[in-house]
Symmetry: C2
Subunit: 295 residues, 2 copies
């Protein structure tokens, strides 16, 4: 870690039906992020496919691949060509009948730096992830890259302060949250606005509580209903919050975009000296966090 | 719990030098809160005194009292007369040389329902609490009152997601955060604005992450420097966030006020069904939360 700061690039786009087309879109935007100065780039959750979890469909398991799969191969090439560290969220096939919602961190030479499997799995109308994904068993991820030490969590994880805290304790300077979140057709615009605000607030809260950068990377676009599942209007709005929770970059709801922000180590140091929460955690009083509920 | 909702009252005021005068102010505002319909009322942190922790001063220990002290006696009378559940934060003398930053929950008949000792103790320029207060050893508090089940945490606790989560797991429907936070004279208005925003965001984040109400109760007023400590301009701004993190009530920076809000059990139920975070916590993966740091 030779520099005092580094630039991150959040890649936001709408998914086409065809996985190869999506990966080419991703590669193009990774190149653009690199040209704009980013040294660490993050793609949205399940970066190669429409959000197939809208419904139960056994045929969707065919979209998954292993760590040696062609999609990750294509993205390793993209990382190499752009010369960036690349966070690639993908549908992981681990064994027959055993799948995860995962992400890898690829180095600028295309090598594997880290591997994360989504810990918290939703199962709600329009988001049937418990059907597809086994909860992760790799714990949290914080990994040194040529630019800095980064953490990766995925979507539903972003509502859980425990996941952010564990990633901070593992030394992350920035937590990336690749995401696929949007408005169900049955939800009113007002409901969606409230949800989107809550989504941003809770993640800005993680930035404050942990004195680090948070980068949420969402997809955009309307994906129509299929197999009885509702259509979802993904709300984009990728953003970066600094260690005081200040929103330092934010994308629109609809645009394909590369959002840039600077991770400034001096800012982390300064905020954590002003508010040294890590000094004062009462770890001996936290045993109850390992319980399901108090009664 | 016979009703579907209850009204809470947050009492915000500036401190005079004289403890009795402050307690009479508190009693007057508790009465006003009751007349306005509140059934649970909360006073600010260390509700009887100026914020003496601006400096080390051995004589300040004389301000403390036990659970049978005259200040709590006066507040029990105020609770009885107003017919409300009352949260009273106070400087607790437990034994010679052993003091806490505490709060009690008094029932509408003046009896003791609950007792909390601040878990997280700051020690920063202008906030020398580690000199005065031993970290609490009673764990978190959530207690049934005639109105509903309430939790109490105090000031610095509000930056720690662990404390909010533990209180939620103990069944609280609302967490009260009696507080004494403000701008040091040496801090710029811009710094203070950023800090105040972070203060609000992190607590709204707790409301979202835990699907409950959060009520922050701050003092107002400028308290001048003493004994080499800087003056502090307490920024008021008491507020209530609902389980979606929506700001449903907010006080100004300067006004003596009684802020009212409704805790709606149906809203808690509804938000938690939409976002069932308690269902999906990965307690088996949280062991690292009991560690100081990852390395």
């Amino acid at each position: 870690m030779t520099k005092d700061s580094f630039t991150i690039g959040l890649v936001q786009y709408a998914m086409a039906e065809d996985a190869n087309a999506n990966l080419e879109t991703a590669a193009r935007l990774v190149r653009r992020a690199s040209e704009a100065g980013a040294s660490v780039v993050c793609l949205p959750e399940l970066c190669a496919t429409p959000y197939f979890c809208k419904t139960h469909d056994e045929s969707s398991f065919a979209l998954a691949e292993g760590l040696d799969g062609p999609g990750l191969g294509r993205m390793a090439k993209a990382a190499r060509e752009a010369g960036v560290t690349l966070v690639v969220p993908f549908f992981e096939r681990r064994a027959p009948g055993l799948y995860h919602n995962s992400a890898v961190v690829l180095s600028p030479d295309g090598g594997l730096l880290g591997h994360y499997r989504k810990l918290h799995i939703p199962e709600d109308p329009g988001f049937h992830e418990k059907y597809y994904f086994t909860p992760g068993d790799l714990g949290v991820l914080a990994v040194d890259t040529p630019a800095g030490r980064i953490g990766v969590l995925i979507c539903w994880d972003q509502w859980f302060p425990e996941a952010a805290r564990l990633t901070a304790l593992a030394g992350a300077e920035v937590i990336f949250y690749p995401t696929a979140i949007g408005r169900l057709e049955s939800e009113s615009p007002q409901q969606a606005a409230e949800m989107r605000a809550a989504w941003q607030v809770v993640q800005r809260g993680h930035a404050v509580a942990n004195g680090l950068y948070v980068a949420a990377v969402n997809r955009t676009g309307f994906e129509p209903s299929s197999g009885g599942g509702e259509g979802v209007d993904f709300w984009g709005g990728s953003f970066v919050a600094d260690p005081m929770g200040v929103l330092i970059a934010e994308a629109t709801a609809d645009d394909e975009t590369v959002l840039l922000a600077t991770v400034d180590r001096a800012r982390i140091e300064s905020v954590r000296r002003t508010w040294p929460f890590l000094r004062d955690r009462r770890v001996e009083a936290y045993g109850g966090l390992l319980a399901r509920f108090g009664s």
